[in-house]
Structure formats: C-alpha cells, structure tokens
Subunit: 477 residues, 2 copies
Amino acid sequence: MAKNEQFVSQIADIETEFPQWYTDVVLKTKLVDYGPVKGTMVIRPYGYAIWENIQREMDSRFKAAGVENAYFPLLIPMSFMTKEAEHVEGFAPEVAVVTHAGGAKLEEPLAVRPTSETIIGHMMGKWVESWRDLPLRVNQWCNVMRWEKTTRPFLRTSEFLWQEGHSVYATSEEAERETLSMLQLYEDFAKTVLCMPVLTGRKTEKEKFAGAVATYGMEAMMHDGKSLQSGTTHYMGQNFAEAFDIQFTDKDGTLKHGYTMSYGVSTRLIGAIIMTHGDQRGLVLPPPVAPVQAVIVPIAQKKEGVLEACRALEERLRAAGIRVKVDDSDNSPGWKFNEWEMKGVPVRIELGPRDIESGKMTVFRRDTCEKGDGYLLSDAEELIHGLLGSISDNLYLKAQKRMQERIVPADDLDALLAGVNGGCFVRAGWCGCRECEDRVKEYAQATARVMAKENTSEKCVVCGKPSVHTVFFARAY
Amino acid sequence: MAKNEQFVSQIADIETEFPQWYTDVVLKTKLVDYGPVKGTMVIRPYGYAIWENIQREMDSRFKAAGVENAYFPLLIPMSFMTKEAEHVEGFAPEVAVVTHAGGAKLEEPLAVRPTSETIIGHMMGKWVESWRDLPLRVNQWCNVMRWEKTTRPFLRTSEFLWQEGHSVYATSEEAERETLSMLQLYEDFAKTVLCMPVLTGRKTEKEKFAGAVATYGMEAMMHDGKSLQSGTTHYMGQNFAEAFDIQFTDKDGTLKHGYTMSYGVSTRLIGAIIMTHGDQRGLVLPPPVAPVQAVIVPIAQKKEGVLEACRALEERLRAAGIRVKVDDSDNSPGWKFNEWEMKGVPVRIELGPRDIESGKMTVFRRDTCEKGDGYLLSDAEELIHGLLGSISDNLYLKAQKRMQERIVPADDLDALLAGVNGGCFVRAGWCGCRECEDRVKEYAQATARVMAKENTSEKCVVCGKPSVHTVFFARAY
C-alpha cells in the first residue's frame, strides 16, 4: 500500500524523534496551528471539537457535584496580584499587562488573568456575609494567559483555555475535602473519558501553586516516559480569604475568615491524549472525546446503491447516539483509510457492493489496527457501540500496563538517573528537604511529580537520611 | 401581602425610572455584579445559566447549518488592525493594548481583540489555497474587549462574551446569501428562544460595521421604546480577503480573492430579554432560556409528607426534561413567591397538605401573574410542558403586539421627534444622504436602526426630496 507508506513517512518516527512526531501529528491532523504572535495557538475545528467533548463531559460532572458556572473579568488590577505575597511572586514574571486602553494610558496597569484567585477572591469578599452564604462554589470556562519562553501547542502556550473552579467554605475540613474530591473527579474523568491512567498525590512545597497551602496533582505518563501534569487542585487555607477579606458571620455571631480552594484542567488534556495513545500512524482518539467516532468509507462509491447504503447506515448510527460521518470525497479508499487513521477515528466501516449484497460490513478498529469482515449490518448499532466501549477499555488497560511497567524504584541518584533516562517514572524515598529535591533536578533533570499517599521508603534517594515521603520523580513537560 | 410590597418597593418604577429599574433588577436578582475595573461585569451563576442556555440553543443551530467551532488567539498584532483602513478607524479608539509581557516591553504592541476579522483573516489566508478549501466556515465563542466610556451590565461593557462566525466563499453570491441566512437564523432564534420580536434589515453606511460592504442588523424594542441592536451580520466583499491575502486557485486555474462575511450575537441578548419582558415585579424569563423553568414551593413544609411530595414531583418533572427546583429554604412561602417572581421563573407550583390529599396542585404563571388551583398532580408533566409553551407564545405575542402598535409613521422631523419621544420606532422616508441622517440624530437623538426591505415612502423625512429608503428610526441603547 504505497499511499499508506507515503502518509506514514510524513510523520517523524515516534520512538526516535518524539517531539517532531508530536508537531507533525498536531499540525497534519489539523488539530491546531500557530498563531501570529509567538507562543500562541489557533485551535482548529478538529481540535476544538475534542475540547467541546471534554467540556461537556467535565461540565456535567461539575453540575452533578453542585458547582455553578459564572464568568469573571479578564483584566485584573495589578494591585490585586500583589495582595497575596507568594501569588505575585509566582505569577508576576509571566503576566501580560494592558497599559493603554481607549486611546489613553491607564491609571493602573491591568494584568491579563494568568488565573483568577485574586479577582474571584475580591468578589467573594463582596458576596459572602453570613454562614448562610457558604459554601460558595463557582467555576468558569475561559482563556488565561501566561507568557512562557518555550511553547508547544496544547502543552504550553501563552494563551490557553481551561476551567477554574473556586470555592469558599466555612471550615478548613470542608475546603480540604473538596480539594481531594475534585482530584478524585479529575482522576475518574481521566480514566473514563480520556482512557488515561494517572498518578495522583500531593505536590511538594517547591512544586505547589503560588499562594496555596497544599497542591494536589494528577500526572500522566506520555509515550516518551515523561510526565504531563494534567490537572491540579489547591487548598488555600485562609491565605486568599485574608488577602481579600472573605469574612462571614458564623452561627455563633463571630466574624471569621473563610477557607478557599481551587482546581483546574486545561486544553493541555488534548496534548495528554495525543501523547498517551498516539502511534506511528498518528492520533488514536479515545471514543468518548473523538469528534468522529466512526467513519464510513464507501468502496466503489460510484456503483449504484453504495452511497445510499452508507447514508442509511450513517442515519442509523447517528440515531443510536454515535458521532458518525460518511467520507464521500473524491479521494481513493486507500487515501481515506490513511487520512482517518492519522486523524485517530476509533472505528472505520468499509461498505462496498459485495458487503451490501451479503448484508455485512468490514470494520477496522484504530487502537489495534485490526480489521474484520463479516459483521452483520443489521446489528450495526449494537456492534459499533460495543466496539467503542471495548476500544476505550483497551486503550486504558494498555496505557495502564505500560505505566505500571515503567514505574521503577531507585535507591540512589544514579539509579534514579538511569530510570528517567530509560523513560520511566522513579519511585524513591525523600527526606523532605529542598536541597535534595534541587539535587535531583540538577543530577537527573527530573522533578518530584507527586508524593505517594504513604511513605514506604527507607531512605532519601539523595542524602540517605530517613525517608519522610515516597516521591514519584520524572522528567516532565 | 406586606412582604410582597416590600420586595416590589425595592425595585424602581419601571415606567418612570426605567434605567434604575434595570439596574435594580440585574443586581437584586444576582444576574450580574460590577467588576473591580470600571466598565467590567461579573456574570453571576443565575445570569451565566441564561447565557449557557442561549449558547446551547444557538450552537446547535450553527452546527445544523454546517458551521464548526474553533478558537483564535485573544491578542492581535496592532499591525493587523491597520491592514483594513476602515476597520482600524472604527476600532482603534476602543482597543485595549498589551504593551508588556513576561517582564519585558513587547516589540510590537498587541490589541486585545475587539472582534476577530483580522486575525481570522490572517489564518484563512494561510489555510485557503484551492477552491476545494471553500467554503471555510468557523465560529468561536469567546470574550472580546471594547473600551467604552459609558457602560451598563450586559448592554455595553468593556469586556463581553459573544460568538463570532466568519466564513470565506469563492463567490460574492454565496457570501451575501449567508449574510442574509444568518440574519434569518438570528431572527428565528430571537422569536422562538427569546420570545422576542425583532425588526431586521440593512444598516445605513453610517451605522455599518467598520470594514464591511454591508451590515444587517436585528433590532428589538425595549420596554421604554428604545431600540437594542441584538445581532448583526456583515458582508465584507473582498475587503478583508485583499488585506489578508485570502486567495484560492479556482477550478479554471486562476488565482482569485475570496469573499468573506461575519456575524455575531453577545451577552447583550440577556439585556434584551430583561428589557423586553420584565415588569414591575422584576424579571420575566422566556421558558427556553430560564435557568429554572418551574419552582416548587412547599406549603407548610414541615408537615409530614409535604417535602417528600414536592421532591417526588420534582423528580417527575426533571425526568420530563423540565428545569425544576424545590425551594426548601427556611423562608416563608410568601417570601419565596416574591423572590422567584422577581427572578422571573416562568411557573410556580405550590404544594401543601390539602393539595397532596386531593391529588392537586396550585399553579402560578409569571407572564400573566395568574394563579389557578385544582390542577391534577397526575398530569403534571403534560400540564407544565403545555404551560411553558403557552407562556412562550404569550410572551412573544404580547411583545409583538406592543412593537407593532409602537411603530408610527412620520412625514417630517417634528413628527419623528414626537414619535421617539412617545417611545416609538418611527418609519419614515429618507433620501439616502448622510446630512439628513445626521440631522435626525441632532434633532431627535434618534438613529437609523435598519432600512426596510422596500422603499414605500414618498419623501425624505428631513429634506423632502424623493425617498430612496424607508428607514426605521429610534433612540437606541
């Protein structure tokens, strides 16, 4: 199949040139394009449709959890950013600043939000008066901006799309509980919607959100063994409540500060999907987020009855809730096979005169690249639904097996280095001090991704002192 | 009912203090709040839920029309803005400018998008090569920023949310056809989803979009007789295609510029709903966009079985696809009645021990403020569905009747002035010259909202020369 080879040759080798493979895939499948300003991206329809599916699935989970959506302004007075000392230190270097508007210089420069704790904290300070107003739980889907030096589509861009949820509670226990329950929601989402296994846990002080008391993250293993931070939740204690006067009169009549928390996932999840499931032919999209779940390719489409049969099948599958498309373009079937494989469509159905005559269809599944014929057309709805489910299961199990095989222990720095060089996550003990954490970074270019729930290690991988936390170290995006 | 009076007294008189009535309603119902930066708004959950309903309904219409969503960067190089001469003249005075980012001064200042014709034109110039790439039709849901001197929540704010659709076609006919078909889509949306009658038509040269060949708008009559521009579509000819090199090789092998068009509606539609349907008690929300379509208020809710019956009814209505809520707060029924009336919930169901015993319920409809008892609980799904439909119909017909009664003809400037002073739209002839249009503005503080499809007037309302266009003049938001 010469055309297939031609297609494949357009994508760099996934094993030896993974960064170029990624770039080839995101551009050639038209997920994304570079914007005119350095570090910006245009999310093209095929990429945005994945984001819409992510949004819909995630948003319904938020609503079921009782969170309401809202929208807060893009521009934040610079003075707000400085009200929480750690916060400004963390974000000021990355902020884009509006200094002029309406033809005049502004009295106070305005930050384009890098995240909205400050402005939402300010509004919560206005809204919260009594214990009856708590908890207050809002989320927004919006754009944010962080001026980054090195950028890559979906993974790190100066502007990206995300959701940021913010809650204020009367007690620390409640706020901490939601910090963990939202992490759980993210992990469940990653598993069931993105078919992506993740490690979750608390971040070290060095890696936590600027202004948080504690940050929790979920980390996924990419094809090259590097880790991608795919979602975070933050417990803020009273840091922001104090900075923004979020105070309430409690049942006992006393005035108290609330406890806040926040959580977010972004268009980075699209990068996570690509680098978790993709292969040499291109994208492999998880069925729950694939813009097209099944593509129907007519064989000998000019023959009488072929296109009609394809459309009839399309109608039936669409009525069964499957996102389906007939490719009736002028391209050859071989060309179409390659294109839709590159675009990661989970299921391809081939339908030609002989299939129609015998009431059967040929089905290709993208995850295993297996093709089978003789599937009964009359059972198409049930068959395709079942196949999509089994593709989801298989994608998850394959990625999970891979991750489990690639989590290795290390007793010393050289073993840690060998582990990350070998494309693994390294599980190791840590004494808890910043110097040792910095040393790992320096020696192995790896960072503490998350801490395990329990310390099961004996000694620190760097200094050999007793271990306080078992940590998953990895190179990271 | 003392509490009712107390509630009502909190809202300014709708007839004599309409601007204050509007402010009272949007703030007290928690649709919106003022942001910390002058001219910005926070869309609170109750307001944002309306926007989500608008988005969902509108987006499904776009998708059915074959339009795909995408996302383009927020920041636009200032040099892009100047590539289309009229465009920069129109928008430069309102632009917010990012001059610093990542701790350094930028080489080129960046505009926060006031609209995205330029950056989307730039990308289309990259993407379009052949007639096979056409038409290219994208839409984005996003925030935009226009630095305005006088602002009001939803109606005119420095930042607002909207959708902007952009298409490029091979021929002027196709681009012009979509300019009209999208206007038709908007009009149908206004009618069926917002229960809001509109006037549609072409804008005058003075009122058209900066850079367009022709702009079409839909205008709705607010409670005070002023007009609110509620949606616009623009035919750009080759203006932006030439500025951004959107060129394609046609079937005959020659290189040609495409023809572009764009269209948009914004969170302004929420203001339109409020000022079309609202009354002295507050909001009156059209059922298709109401966050809560039916509220169930328990009577004697501490009596055994009452709350259970309310929840059982809630479950049934929710299963029937109705957005329903039980208000089980500690407030008195009277307080709840007033609050939900102010919040514009279309239907209120009152359910107490006697109702439950007799298998009946009391139903209040917000549009007419009529209350009836004796509705069979067993028929609740059908009854409430039917009632929501009839409320939608009634809201539309009432607004339509009002608008028709308030469109008056004028033969001269004094009649035009009397018309707009009386809270009417004025239908009058116009010679087509800019001087006469300016004179209307000066004399009557009214502008040409849209031109009628046909010129049915004899003479210009200003100069008396033969009429070229019949125009609807009004004061406008």
